[in-house]
């Protein structure tokens, strides 16, 4: 099996009110150095070894997991997970 980890965040330039609120709370709690805080989503899944992982993951993200109008995504693939 392959372990896929997908990270989805709002695009740069899209206002992230949630990230802003988190950042302000951190700054108010003794972390004044915090900047550029973005809140996103993390999705993990297992895919069978036969799958063309990169292509499949991109198709999943474009079709459902991310909304290209406002979000961007990245992913990592860990090979050789024992099922």
């Amino acid at each position: 099996m392959k372990k896929v980890r997908i990270f989805i965040t709002l695009k740069e330039g899209v206002l992230d009110p949630q990230g802003k609120a988190v950042q302000e709370a951190l700054q108010a709690n003794g972390f004044p150095e915090v900047a550029d805080t973005r809140v996103g989503k993390y999705i993990e899944m297992s895919l069978s070894d036969s799958a063309d992982v990169a292509q499949e993951v991109q198709r999943m993200c474009d079709k459902l997991l991310a909304n290209p109008v406002m979000e961007e995504y990245s992913y990592t693939v860990e090979e050789g997970i024992k099922s």
Binding site: L10, V14, L15, P17, Q18, K63, L64, N67, V69, M70
Partner: protein
Amino acid sequence: MKFAVIVFPGSNCDRDMYHAVRDGLGEEADLVWYENANLADYDAILLPGGFSYGDYLRSGAIASVSNVLNQIKQKAETGTPVLGVCNGFQILLETGLLPGAMLRNEKLKFMCHYETLVVERNDTLFTSGYEKGQEIQIPIAHGEGNYYCDDATLETLQQNNQIVFTYKNNPNGSRANIAGIVNKAGNVLGMMPHPERAVEDLLGSKDGLALFQSVLHHWREMYVTTS
């Protein structure tokens, strides 16, 4: 005229929509469960508000890839009026029938109150019963109604005259005060405010009724011949 109100798991304004058509407008409506739906015989499609699939992933995202949306897309292509309100608007955005996306409200709060909308266009099949520039009282109820699109899309919306309703006092941070937009052909309307909750005085406003009356008027003009 026969309206289909599409019901997803988590829809919660379906009965308001049903009530608006049946009791406000006096026309036929069915609550149509999204699975195995057959929309062939319906003259208009209504996507109600609520939290389809619990807003999992993104508001409207999972409903937007359900099979019934393929049928709705086909109906939309042939000119059938499609109205998406609140979560219904989010579904129309997610499925690509309308451009843009919804972000969380600027102030991160769920907001539920009346807003003043400005009718920017009264030459659509949804708004012929209003005056251009008319101000109407329609309630909003959403946490993610902050309409977003990039500069190029906004320009296209403005050039094609697709902005139908704007907020007089922008409550949520929406770009260009957008409260409702249509597709290029003008038969698909998405809006965050709830016209179906403003169809009789008892509800505080009946400014939403003219929207449903406009749709009926259009249908009669198109399909009912009198001798």
